[in-house]
């Protein structure tokens, strides 16, 4: 794919049709926002739920999502045409559950939902939890999301 943009951990990117945004997720969450009128979309790959005052805003759900939305608005996107799909938030298969890190996947998912709700951006699909790694491809021609996990592919079309 010529239009493929790889996004690393704690990074985000905004692009337009026909780009494809790809990232690889463990306990992190990938937030894919699509503006269906303009066919512009953005992907944020967050590592942790809440920013404790770190200057690296793209690492945390509660500070990365506002940046992502701002960048989309700057490109002329309208909030009412935006929808989100989220993926990731896996947990270690065997892990003492009293350890805070054991719940990071869950906490990332929850913080992501909250941050999106603040902007009133609906989540139209979720592929979250479990213990699988996920490779996700976000296609900006129509906003579909391909999730590859445990050797299987799933496609989410709703925008």
């Amino acid at each position: 794919m010529d239009n493929l943009i790889n996004i690393g951990v704690a990074q985000l990117a905004v692009a337009e049709n026909p780009a494809v945004l790809r990232t690889i997720l463990g306990s992190c969450v990938g937030i894919c926002i699509y503006e269906r009128n303009k066919k512009i979309g953005g992907l944020a790959h967050i590592l942790l739920p809440k920013n404790p005052g770190d200057s690296n805003h793209e690492k945390y759900a509660d500070t990365a999502i506002p940046i992502l939305v701002q960048q989309l608005l700057k490109k002329g996107c309208k909030k009412e045409f935006m929808s989100a799909k989220i993926a990731g938030g896996a947990s270690m298969f065997k892990f003492k559950s009293t350890t805070a890190l054991a719940n990071i996947g869950e906490n990332n998912i929850e913080a992501t939902r909250q941050a999106l709700a603040k902007f009133g951006i609906p989540i139209v699909a979720e592929d979250v939890g479990g213990s699988t790694g996920r490779v996700i491809d976000f296609f900006l021609d129509d906003g579909r999301l391909k999730v590859k996990a445990s050797g299987q592919e799933k496609m989410y079309y709703k925008v």
């Binding site: 690889i24 463990g26 992190c28 690492k59 270690m92 890190l101 699988t132």
Partner: protein
């Protein structure tokens, strides 16, 4: 159990030609660094014999991750400025890339992912060692981190053929992916990796890291701490999605390993949280 697959793996182990190769200079350098009777000059001469790797090594010495600010233009200078142990780590980086920087089918890792994973685990393990009063062996944690998954390069094809059975065993028997590898194929990637490090004439401590990185508690007593360091670094990097494949997070974070190093939640979370910054520093060594 797939017996024909077990037999094929057995024959690969017995016929070491089929295991990945590394130039002999690597094990010579690793062993020289641990020998107090060896001089800087002898190490520099040994590296300089190999023109091809020398150029690569100098490039790595001047990378953001290793550079101390001064331009390094010879191996002699590199040893003076960076120290023997750091130069040894750089030799390992320069020579193992061709082994690890591959598409790993079966585990569904695109080209570069296993390499990136090894480098990430190496950097994080070195950091954990340094912060857990194990600074003297931080370089060994680094080397071990790079190569800990080398067995996957050999096992990949067989994992591809048995993937469904492995995953079924994981969910039905509630065992980790690596335990399921052993159950279904007779071997796991740690055991194959150990054979590779034996072929490479690597010291026992590196063999232990590769052999026990998913089960640090079974490592020989004298290696338990260092194996635990790489175990934790590996777990955190997988959680951050660095080099995560079809085996996903079907692994274990061993609580005894965490306790042994005297680590607590906030420190673990800090190490996890630091991964993006580490990766940014690693850009020009990947």
């Amino acid at each position: 159990m797939h017996e024909h697959i077990q037999q094929r793996i057995q024959s690969i182990i017995q016929n070491v030609d089929q295991l990945p190769s590394l130039p002999d200079v690597v094990s010579r350098i690793i062993n020289m660094v641990n020998d107090p009777n060896v001089s800087f000059k002898q190490v520099a001469d040994e590296i300089a014999k190999d023109q091809a790797i020398t150029a690569n090594i100098l490039k790595l010495c001047n990378s953001a991750y290793f550079s101390k600010g001064k331009e390094i233009s010879s191996i002699d200078r590199a040893i003076v400025i960076l120290g023997l142990k750091e130069v040894k780590d750089i030799v390992v980086l320069a020579t193992t890339k061709s082994v690890l920087n591959k598409v790993i089918i079966g585990y569904d890792l695109a080209r570069g992912e296993l390499w990136k994973h090894g480098v990430a685990v190496a950097m994080l393990a070195k950091k954990i060692a340094t912060e857990c009063s194990q600074k003297a062996v931080a370089d060994i944690a680094f080397t071990g981190g790079i190569i800990h998954d080398v067995g996957k390069t050999v096992l990949a094809l067989f994992v591809q053929n048995t993937f469904k059975d492995i995953l079924t065993a994981v969910t039905e028997k509630n065992i980790t992916f690596q335990e399921a590898e052993k159950l279904i194929m007779g071997f796991d990637h740690q055991q194959i990796g150990e054979q590779v490090t034996i072929k490479w004439k690597f010291p026992k401590v590196l063999q232990s890291i590769v052999r026990y990185h998913h089960e640090p508690i079974n490592a020989p007593n004298e290696h338990k701490k260092i194996v635990s360091i790489v175990h934790i670094a590996n777990t955190l990097c997988l959680m951050a999605g660095i080099g995560i494949g079809s085996d996903g997070l079907y692994h274990e974070l061993n609580q005894d390993a965490v306790t042994m190093l005297g680590l607590h939640d906030p420190q673990l979370e800090k190490f996890y949280s630091d991964i993006p910054e580490l990766m940014a520093r690693a850009k020009d060594i990947l």
